[in-house]
Symmetry: C2
Subunit: 236 residues, 2 copies
Amino acid sequence: MEKNTEAERRSWRQNPEAVQRDILSVALTEFAAKGLSGARIETIASRTRTSKRMIYYYFGDKLGLYTKALETAYMTVREGEAALDLADLPPDEALARLVAFTFDHHRKSADFIRMVMIENIHNAENLAASQIIRDMNVTAIEKLEDICRRGQDAGLFRSDLDAVALHWQISAASFFNLSNRPTFSAIFGPDLFEEKAQARLRAQIVESILATALKPSALHGIRSRGAIPDSDTPTE
Amino acid sequence: MEKNTEAERRSWRQNPEAVQRDILSVALTEFAAKGLSGARIETIASRTRTSKRMIYYYFGDKLGLYTKALETAYMTVREGEAALDLADLPPDEALARLVAFTFDHHRKSADFIRMVMIENIHNAENLAASQIIRDMNVTAIEKLEDICRRGQDAGLFRSDLDAVALHWQISAASFFNLSNRPTFSAIFGPDLFEEKAQARLRAQIVESILATALKPSALHGIRSRGAIPDSDTPTE
DNA sequence: GACGAATTGTACCGTGCGGAACAATTTGAG
DNA sequence: CTCAAATTGTTCCGCACGGTACAATTCGTC
């Protein structure tokens, strides 16, 4: 009865994919929480069903693990974005939807946001080195470019509109809302980050970005457009 | 002739304030560049005119040094902001100026931005613990609140305008513009961060934020307001 | 010029942590 | 069954790096 204890302890079943997924999931959380140099490989290993040995076996070194975790974060978030279909909406409404969706989606992607923050601290060196991520983002802006083109063709949007500049503005609000929440609420209090205030902020930036995109002549009564129903993506 | 070499090596003049300033200046750069855990005390010491010993003598430990560096960053940036006087401008123009100034001022405060990024990675724990910083920021938003009140009294601004929410939006664009430059330009190219494009972005957010603040009835011809002369603060 | 407090120099310690060595077990192919 | 390749367990190393001990020098003050 006591004999097989030792044998059991030293026996295992192989399951490479599951092991790698397990490691990556833990690593992502840990890197997102502590940063590249702040995260501890041993801590990651301990939160895993396997050992530190496996991390080095599958990912080589700390940077290799970090890079894969970064790619995982990007992939997850891009998958979420792909679910959004705006092709059959009029351009102004499509843009409003896109902004509201981006705002909501960022709020649900805390780990991704934090990984991007960390990458920026490191001057995006690892991101720039990852061909996978660069490829993924080539298509990330296509949706917005399509909306811009349709809006201009319809005479609704300004003719000098730049999709990348617009994306910059949408990202800025949606990203900052999460990335700077700690300092912002430490200084100005947590009110702005409660549900009701967040809904108001969302309406505010939807409006504000429509004002950027629309021709002055089309700029009447955009107020109502802020009241967009909550994004239909389930929060699981 | 060779005798005093050893004596010289072991002799020095005291200058506590200069030593502390020297250390803080180097530490700020180093922490801003590498993060709290990424920065090396020994590296900081080596870039200093003094030794590692002095860092521990004056600042106790790594976190003490980091906290002081953070406070220094805040103080420097707030001093820069204090130079701006908008009291005798009409509220809409004052707001436009404030936005443009904030955008420009952030661009010149790279170290400050990076320190705030790092604080956010650490959930603002050190910032929240610093009474000095909390006090400094109580007055940081007063300028904007004054503009809002004047704008509402004049019937120009929306009556439900929230100064903190407006500040959030201004900060988001100005902050993101620096904080996420590495990842953004790694993905979409560096064009958006060259002088001409930056001037356009600045005009874009000035407009966009005026659209948030102004009553719809006052929302005509704000286009021109984007063209604000470069901030008069010398870049030294 | 002597004495104590404030500064600074030098040398060192403890250990946390990234990583490697080496051996054992499992699995699939033939 | 055999054997090599893939996967995992165990154990330890090297050293970078935060922090300290102890001594020396400087400086104000009386």
